[in-house]
């Protein structure tokens, strides 16, 4: 191996390996080891159980929809925060991070109260015949709340660093405002937007605390995978819980890899 010119490679690499092992690799390995106590048949029976399959479906669709909506509105929010100067901008900017700080259970209870049949918002939706709490819409709302900061915080710095000149160049070449956004600005923020989307998605797939309060948790309808894992644990079925965990892990991993490939493909122009 060639000697690196930057000093400290040995020690920082050592710490990195140790850290990743302690906090990521070892726990995940344990998960796999625990699952391995099941025979393959048992494993397949557990993870393909009808109730479990429904839970995957609920988890995946709600997380996808929430991440997608967050990508749209997160981009909008980031745009407003970066491009316009208005009183209260800094307050809004600070509020964005609140979902990170709030205990998820508190968030879940608050949302359930708001969107419940008698809640402030819920009663109107109830009248319109669209119940929110205790349906998958409720799950989506909880996940949107949880995932919002990811998109905003990924996109915001990229937007801030976009040179004003490229936009001016586009306008001086005759591009309309929409064309400038669509052809010049948007391609620049796509990687960040994808990164924010994938973080929100990953978070949504694993979210438990805020969802259980608003989801209603009806088996085959509004039961998410993390909740199933929880209930298996409560029945001391550790192997069953880890089996579902492994499937979720594989799913998340696949999505993250796909999104990574998308980003790479999009950034082809940066490669030499």
């Amino acid at each position: 191996m060639k000697k690196n010119i930057l000093p400290g490679f040995g020690i920082t690499m050592g710490i990195t390996t140790l850290y990743v092992s302690l906090f990521v690799l070892v726990p995940i390995s344990l998960l796999l080891i625990k699952t391995a106590s099941l025979s393959l048949d048992e494993f397949i029976t557990i993870v393909t159980n009808e109730r479990v399959m429904h839970a995957y479906k609920v988890s995946l669709t709600t997380a996808f929809i929430a991440a997608f909506l967050n990508a749209i509105f997160g981009l909008l929010l980031a745009w407003v925060l970066v491009r316009y100067r208005f009183p209260g901008r800094r307050i809004i900017d600070g509020l964005i991070d609140l979902p990170f700080a709030l205990p998820t259970a508190v968030a879940g209870m608050t949302l359930a109260a708001l969107y419940g049949p008698e809640g402030w918002f819920g009663q109107f939706f109830q009248k319109l015949g669209i119940p929110i709490a205790y349906t998958s819409s409720g799950i989506v709302i909880a996940l949107m709340f949880i995932g919002l900061p990811f998109v905003v915080r990924m996109v915001q710095p990229v937007l801030e660093n976009l040179p004003k000149e490229t936009e001016e160049a586009a306008t001086s070449l005759g591009a309309s405002r929409f064309q400038t956004f669509h052809k010049v600005i948007f391609p620049e923020i796509v990687p960040a937007l994808l990164a924010g989307f994938s973080l929100a998605l990953a978070r949504g797939l694993g979210e438990y605390g805020s969802v259980v309060f608003i989801a209603g948790n009806m088996p085959m309808k509004t039961e998410v995978a993390p909740l199933l894992i929880m209930s298996k644990l409560e029945q001391f079925d550790y192997a069953g819980a880890t089996a579902i965990g492994v499937v979720m892990l594989l799913l998340s991993f696949t999505f993250l890899i796909i999104i990574n490939i998308l980003q790479k493909w999009h950034r082809k122009h940066e490669l030499r």
């Binding site: 040179p163 000149e165 490229t166 001016e168 160049a169 586009a170 306008t171 001086s172 070449l173 005759g174 591009a175 309309s176 064309q179 052809k183 010049v184 391609p187 620049e188 122009h269 940066e270 030499r272």
Partner: protein, 348 residues
């Protein structure tokens, strides 16, 4: 296409960026806006392009008031100092951008666009680079792509904001020669901003010298260099030695008490100074050589006067060898050519 600038002023808060600018730029000329940073030259250029709003005064391009048009309808080619290329697009798509964003009924066919881009690539000598991305090009190549992109829309006028500012000295020189040649071929009215007096003198048909938001002088390169109208212009266009003195009966005379008398200041270029070993008349100044160094064919001699002010003299090799000067020697200098400005009203 002519550019007509009438009574243009611009304020940013309390800062007066431009004071009442009047300028006429004839069709087909290559004009330099020259000035130090903060002189308002870029502001003026951006106002002509429509990148800054016009509040006081009128700018007419081709006899049309530009304030009434949005920038994307002005037919102005603008080139930025840092290229401002679209880095996610290939060179081809960068150059084609201006044609591709046209509304459908005005947009040329794909073949026409491809032909136009090929033609421009040949013009900027970048054939074979069409599929590259900006990140794969050198600075000089990027700026040529930026220029081709601006020319693709066949602009009425071409505006360049410090186009060579980000390039190294050798590439800069090459590119400005090339710009000059390009301009001779396509004859579009071109206005470029620079703070480099050599660049302006080298390339432009005419130079507009700006200082503190005002136009100091407009003229051909030789004209502004040979007869500067103000000390600022004289100072800005090259190195200069100041001799304080007074004007008596229309004759400038040196004063050896520089602090007490400063009724007039003589401006002398370093290569307009004669060095002698013997005192031949009273109109010479005594000085001691403190430093001698050479840059290429030019010898720079620094000397200190008795009143502790410094004089810089430039000699060519023959002159230097003939005199055979040494550091520490006492010599007598006199100006061969001098321009006198009286500080109060800056006239002779």
């Amino acid at each position: 296409m002519t550019i007509e600038i009438q009574n243009i002023s611009k304020k940013y808060g309390n800062f007066q960026a431009l004071h009442d600018i009047n300028l006429h730029i004839p069709s087909g000329e290559l004009v330099a806006l020259l000035g130090p940073s903060g002189s308002g030259k870029t502001t003026l250029l951006r106002m002509i392009a429509g990148l800054e709003s016009v509040e006081d005064g009128i700018i007419l391009v081709d006899n049309e008031n530009v304030a009434s048009l949005h920038i994307n309808q002005r037919d102005v080619g603008f080139v930025f100092q840092h290229y401002a290329l679209f880095k996610h697009l290939t060179v081809f798509d960068n150059i084609a951008f201006g044609l591709q964003v046209r509304p459908k009924h005005k947009r040329p066919s794909a073949q026409t666009i491809a032909a136009k881009v090929d033609e421009l690539l040949a013009l900027v000598k970048l054939e074979g680079f069409a599929k590259r991305y900006p990140a794969q090009l050198s600075g000089g190549q990027r700026q040529r792509v930026a220029l081709a992109r601006a020319l693709a829309v066949e602009p009425k006028i071409l505006l360049l904001d410090e186009p060579f500012g980000a390039l190294d000295a050798k590439v800069r020189k090459e590119l400005r020669r090339w710009l000059r040649k390009l301009h001779n071929d396509i004859h579009v009215t071109t206005l470029f901003v620079t703070h480099d007096q050599e660049e302006a003198l080298d390339v432009a048909d005419r130079i507009v010298i700006m200082n503190k938001g005002k136009v100091e002088q407009v003229g051909a390169p030789a004209e502004v260099y040979e007869s500067p109208v103000s000390p600022f212009v004289y100072d800005f266009l090259g190195n200069v030695n100041l001799f304080r003195g007074r004007v008596i009966d229309g004759q400038f005379s040196f004063s050896n008490q520089a602090e007490t008398t400063n009724e007039a200041v003589g401006y002398v270029r370093p290569h307009h100074i004669k060095i002698e070993r013997e005192k031949t008349s009273d109109a010479v100044i005594s000085a001691t050589i403190t430093f001698i160094h050479t840059i290429g064919p030019i010898w720079h001699i620094e000397m200190r006067r008795d009143d502790d002010t410094y004089i810089e003299v430039e000699l060519n090799k023959e002159e230097f060898l003939l005199l055979n000067l040494q550091v520490g020697e006492n010599v007598y200098v006199s100006p061969k050519e001098m321009k006198v400005f009286i500080p109060e009203d800056f006239s002779i």
